[in-house]
């Protein structure tokens, strides 16, 4: 083990304590006691450390997420749901994340089930073909807002910012052996972070996690990759809706949070508006969008002269959200599992502090910038 320490600084209240360990194989383990809750949340994240996937296998990580989610023995859903929990899986640009929440007393049972997410998986051709069909179905159900965000990423970060969803057509030619290889690479312990938050003994949890993942060996190179800063603010639009996409530095930067607060403010003041952001330590995109076609400039124009009110509303919402994240096991576990490998100083206390340090003036500036961008024609 290379590091092992008790995060005394994480004591927001006297009854909260956290343990973090980075194992010699590179896996990051984290457990935090959160009193006043009767549940425990698990988040298992595989960070995209190396270069993003190439266009010729675009979507392989997403396909891998679908296949890993079945578990090495294909019984993960039946077992987990019999414990009253559900496995949630998600692929974003920087992570593949699995999550589950249970009553606190069930954490050892849950770990035994979730272990099959990191065990070796063999995929059959039948399973592969079936899952590519399912991905096609998922593609057809993608929401208008997610499609807008994808467009915003492309315009903000260029053609390299491939959508994490992928292109099922590119995947239909893959063999089961190629996909099994990709699964092995994705599950590399250097990419792995497990966060457990709830009414648990953090030291006992980390000890058990160490037994489960400590023997795995790294399989991939350690070339680290980072996203270059984005191209400011862009207006996006389609037949389904319109939006403004703002490129921001990583989560925990005041710029990212001020823009998120601005988007929250708009959402509160504008019927049908949505605010979207995928927290990451890497540069990302905050999107504000409205559903009805051609109504973004009109919706925004109504808020001219009310920027301060919008900013105050948004800041209150942001702070409420950050408080919730800090005290809600599922939200805190997910954020921790995703941010900790790329942002080693991340903790719940710094999250609340960053929220408190944002000023109304910063948010108001972001509001004005979004209003200005909304008047430009979609590119």
């Amino acid at each position: 083990m290379t590091t092992s320490f008790l995060l005394g600084a994480l004591l927001l209240r006297q009854d909260r304590v956290a343990v973090k360990e980075v194992l010699s194989n590179g896996a990051t383990l984290y457990a935090q006691r959160l009193s006043g809750t009767s549940e425990v949340a698990f988040a298992i994240s595989f960070v995209q450390r190396n270069n993003p996937e190439p266009p010729e296998t675009h979507g392989l990580r997403h396909l891998a997420e679908h296949l890993l989610a079945k578990g090495s023995k294909r019984d993960i859903d039946q077992r987990l749901e019999s414990l009253g929990s559900v496995l949630l899986a998600e692929t974003s640009r920087d992570f593949v994340t699995f999550r589950a929440t249970l009553p606190s007393s069930r954490w050892p049972d849950a770990l035994a089930v979730l272990k099959s997410l990191i065990d070796p998986v063999e995929v059959t051709e039948t399973e592969l073909n079936n899952e590519v069909k399912v991905l096609n179905e998922e593609l057809a159900l993608r929401s208008w807002a997610v499609r807008l965000v994808s467009d915003g990423w492309r315009r903000t970060y260029g053609a390299d910012a491939l959508d994490p969803f992928g292109d099922p057509a590119k995947l239909s030619g893959l063999t089961a052996a190629q996909v099994s290889q990709a699964l092995t690479s994705l599950r590399d312990p250097r990419s792995l972070c497990i966060a457990v938050v709830g009414d648990v003994d953090p030291e006992a949890v980390v000890r058990r996690l160490t037994e489960l993942v400590g023997t795995q060996s790294p399989t991939q190179s350690t070339d680290e990759w980072d996203r270059q800063p984005g191209n400011g603010t862009v207006r996006v639009g389609s037949a389904d809706g319109e939006g403004v996409c703002v490129s921001v530095p990583g989560f925990m930067s005041s710029e990212a949070l001020a823009n998120l607060a601005a988007a929250f403010g708009f959402r509160a003041w504008t019927a049908g508006a949505v605010a979207l952001y995928t927290p990451s330590a890497r540069p990302g995109v905050v999107t504000l969008a409205v559903k009805s076609p051609a109504s973004l400039p009109q919706s925004m124009a109504k808020l001219t002269g009310r920027e301060s009110l919008v900013a105050r509303t948004g800041l209150a919402t942001l702070r409420q959200w950050l408080r919730e994240v800090s005290n809600d096991p599922p939200k805190l576990a997910k954020l921790t599992a995703e941010l900790l490998p790329l942002y080693p100083s991340f903790d719940a206390m710094s999250l609340s502090k960053t929220g408190d340090s944002i000023s109304v003036i910063q948010v108001e500036r972001a509001v004005k910038s979004m209003i200005k961008a909304s008047t430009e024609a979609p590119q």
């Binding site: 006043g36 549940e39 859903d77 039946q78 749901e81 019999s82 414990l83 009253g84 929990s85 559900v86 496995l87 949630l88 929440t101 249970l102 073909n129 079936n130 899952e131 069909k133 399912v134 991905l135 096609n136 179905e137 998922e138 057809a140 159900l141 929401s143 208008w144 037949a239 389904d240 809706g241 959402r267 509160a268 003041w269 019927a271 049908g272 559903k291 009805s292 076609p293 109504s295 009310r306 009110l309 105050r312 509303t313 209150a316 919402t317 942001l318 702070r319 409420q320 959200w321």
Partner: protein, 387 residues
């Protein structure tokens, strides 16, 4: 959980109290039942009414509503469902009276100007719904026929305090809620006005605007306040809730037909209607309609593990910890927030005058299978085809 309910003695609103020690916010919700047998035109006007309420009241302009209504970081919510409307205000600790003032004003003195109604109607008419939303919320409605007269008439007909259900949760002050509510929401002396004329012109044949077809099996309503519903409720969970459900195993894992397939518990005045829905771009209409037989065959394979999984998922759902909850209390997924719990109890009170409690009874494998077979056999099947 501390839970208290009271039925006002005469004809006042029904109230539910869900106080939470140490809560830093108070949630107040008003449930307004929709008039019976609304036409499509009225249904469209019902949605416009919910949308236009955000525009203000005699006491609260739109700005003041947004300002006072979001002090706890949770914006005011006014949400139309086909058979009810929910108004929700969340205030920081100590804000109970402010929440009540806002709600009283919204329920009794909404502005509802012609220009606001016209603008909301325009917005809703052009609102783009996904195929899934279209299938669940069934909102291909004739907004072109909505007039200010119909919207204002609906407000007067439906917003009768005697029909309200009011829920207060979180940091609720030590007051007699029923008394507080009946003081503030006094029954109206006048009889409700007559509803404007019905318009039963047939709706055009529904069709999705994209490549997705949605299929539905609609089952008989459940009374979740009755323990007798346990077997049928668990059957719904075994059929369609979670990734271990029959729908997921058969339609997704077995056939590769769909990405999204699930049971929805839909609120109605008759009870919670279980709806088994799935979306597919590849199956033909005939093939999709064989889902009933496929699921029925799967029921034959169920074991004690099926019962255990269904019960665990149902318990997690009512505890608010099932992220794939079938409960549809509104547009957003039902979760563990205080607002969700208030919505569940409010709807239950509105439907049955009692709290939900339908997973009390033991259920054997045979009982579960029989309940599932019966539900499937009597289900109504429908499809919205792709374009």
């Amino acid at each position: 959980m501390t839970f208290a309910l009271s039925l006002a003695l005469i004809v006042g609103p029904k109230t539910v109290e869900l106080p939470k020690a140490g809560a830093n916010k108070v949630v107040v919700q008003v449930f307004v039942p929709a008039p019976n047998n609304m036409s499509d035109r009225e249904q469209a006007a019902w949605n416009v009414l919910a949308d236009v309420l955000y525009d203000g009241t005699a006491e609260f302009s739109r700005d003041r509503l947004a300002q006072f209504g979001s002090q706890a970081g949770v914006p005011i919510l006014i949400e139309a469902m086909p058979e009810h409307l929910r108004l929700q205000v969340v205030e920081p600790k100590g804000g109970f009276k402010v929440a009540m003032q806002i709600l009283e004003s919204l329920c009794e003195r909404a502005t509802l100007s012609d220009s606001q109604i016209a603008e909301s109607t325009r917005r809703l008419k052009t609102l783009q719904l996904s195929s899934w939303e279209q299938a669940v919320f069934d909102e291909q409605l004739p907004y072109t026929k909505v007039t200010s007269e119909v919207v204002r008439n609906l407000y007067q007909v439906a917003f009768r305090p005697e029909s309200f259900t009011i829920v207060a949760g979180g940091e609720v002050p030590d007051v007699d809620l029923a008394q507080e509510v009946s003081d503030r929401f006094k029954p109206l002396a006048s009889a409700p006005p007559r509803r404007t004329r019905f318009d039963y012109s047939p709706r055009p044949w529904a069709k999705h605007g994209d490549s997705v077809s949605t299929f539905e099996l609609r089952l008989a309503p459940l009374n979740l306040a009755s323990a007798d519903s346990t077997a049928r409720l668990l059957a719904v969970f075994a059929l369609g809730v979670g990734k271990g459900s029959a729908m997921h195993r058969v339609l997704r894992e077995g056939k590769g037909w769909s990405y999204r397939q699930e049971a929805v518990l839909w609120p109605s005045k008759a009870g919670w209607i279980p709806r088994l829905l799935f979306a597919s771009t590849q199956v033909s209409l005939e093939e999709g309609l064989t889902a009933r037989e496929l699921l029925s065959s799967d029921v034959d394979t169920w074991t004690a593990e099926t019962v255990a999984r269904a019960r665990s998922m149902a318990e997690a759902t009512f505890a608010g910890t099932n992220p794939l909850s079938p409960l549809t209390t509104g547009r957003d997924p039902f979760g563990s927030e205080l607002e969700d719990e208030c919505a569940l109890y409010g709807l239950s009170m509105m439907m049955y005058g009692a709290s939900p409690k339908a997973i009390d009874q033991a259920v054997s494998v045979d009982e579960l299978k029989a309940a599932a077979k019966d539900l499937l056999e009597h289900a109504g099947a429908s499809v919205i085809p792709r374009s």
